[in-house]
């Protein structure tokens, strides 16, 4: 288990650096898919099978299809020789610092914390992560679940209307 964690960590760091470092946008999109897959591997290690499936189906599958399509829809040949200036580097460095401090604080203060209440890690491990999610989603949070279907309906109609106006 330990060795898997280290392999996944090396892979995700490598692929994330390559997302930023590679010149071609399509190459960085492929590296982003790799990092999403590795993230799913982390979820499996943490006994979150449903979230791992979600990660692969929605992120590595559907969202990345959209990203790759956007790259193909835009003609990026024109923008190949654009230089990045210090302004962008400064902002990205600032965001990096904030995120780093946030993660460091989390590790220092609350990393040892476990889920409280009736659903402790042991219970979740015994019953199953997917079952626990289902139990909550279809009893306690039934109203948000049904509302999400309306949200998806609005998204379907909206996507159709936006794209149809072009032709």
């Amino acid at each position: 288990m330990e060795i898997l964690f280290y392999i996944f960590s090396i892979l995700i760091i490598y692929s994330s650096i390559m997302v930023v470092a590679s010149k071609s946008p399509l190459t960085s999109a492929l590296y982003l898919i790799l990092s999403f897959f590795v993230l799913a591997g982390f979820y499996v290690i943490l006994d979150m099978q449903f979230i791992a499936a979600m990660q692969i189906l929605v992120y590595a599958g559907a969202i990345m299809v959209l990203v790759v399509l956007v790259i193909m829809l835009l003609n990026l040949e024109k923008y190949k020789n654009i230089k990045t200036d210090m302004h962008q580097k400064f902002i990205s460095g600032l965001i990096f610092m904030v995120l780093f401090v946030e993660i460091a604080l989390f590790i220092l203060t609350g990393a040892g914390r476990k889920p409280t209440g009736i659903f402790t890690s042991e219970v979740i491990k015994r019953v199953g992560n997917t079952q626990v999610i289902g139990e909550f989603l279809f009893t306690k949070y039934i109203f948000p679940f049904e509302i999400s279907s309306i949200l998806l309906l609005v998204a379907i109609i909206g996507a159709y209307l936006f794209a149809k106006k072009r032709f």
Binding site: M1, L4, V44, I45, D47, Q49, F50, A53, M54, L57, V58, G61, A62, I63, V65, L66, L69, V70, M72, L73, L74, N75, L76, E77, G128, T130, Q131, I133, G134, E135, L137, F138, T139, I142, F145, E146, S148, S149, I150, L152, L153, A155, I156, I157, A159, Y160, A163, K164, R166, F167
Partner: protein
Amino acid sequence: MNSFLPVLIMLIFSILFAVLTIGLSNIIGKKSYEPGKLKPFECGVEPTGEPHIRFDIKFYLVAIFFLLFDIEALFLFPWAVIYRWLGLFGFIEMFTFIVVLVVGLLYIWKKGGLIWE
């Protein structure tokens, strides 16, 4: 976690397969580098225009519909594993969820959003 061991074994084998096939053909295969090899070939005619063509918006529309119905299908997983426990209530619940999305499907169907002309 143990039930994911086959997935891990399959992952290792697929990585090995990819690395072996590409690596072996790299080692065994003949290598020749010449400038003519990198030129675009268009039946002997000088290539015209840019190689990067813009894709139709229809591909994007299909991708968005795939994404939305993908999310719908995802909700079926936690529903299916506790279906017996939920009983009739769960059936009605999922039925309403699906019906609302079928309305959306019928809308784009009737409007001709799925026609590929």
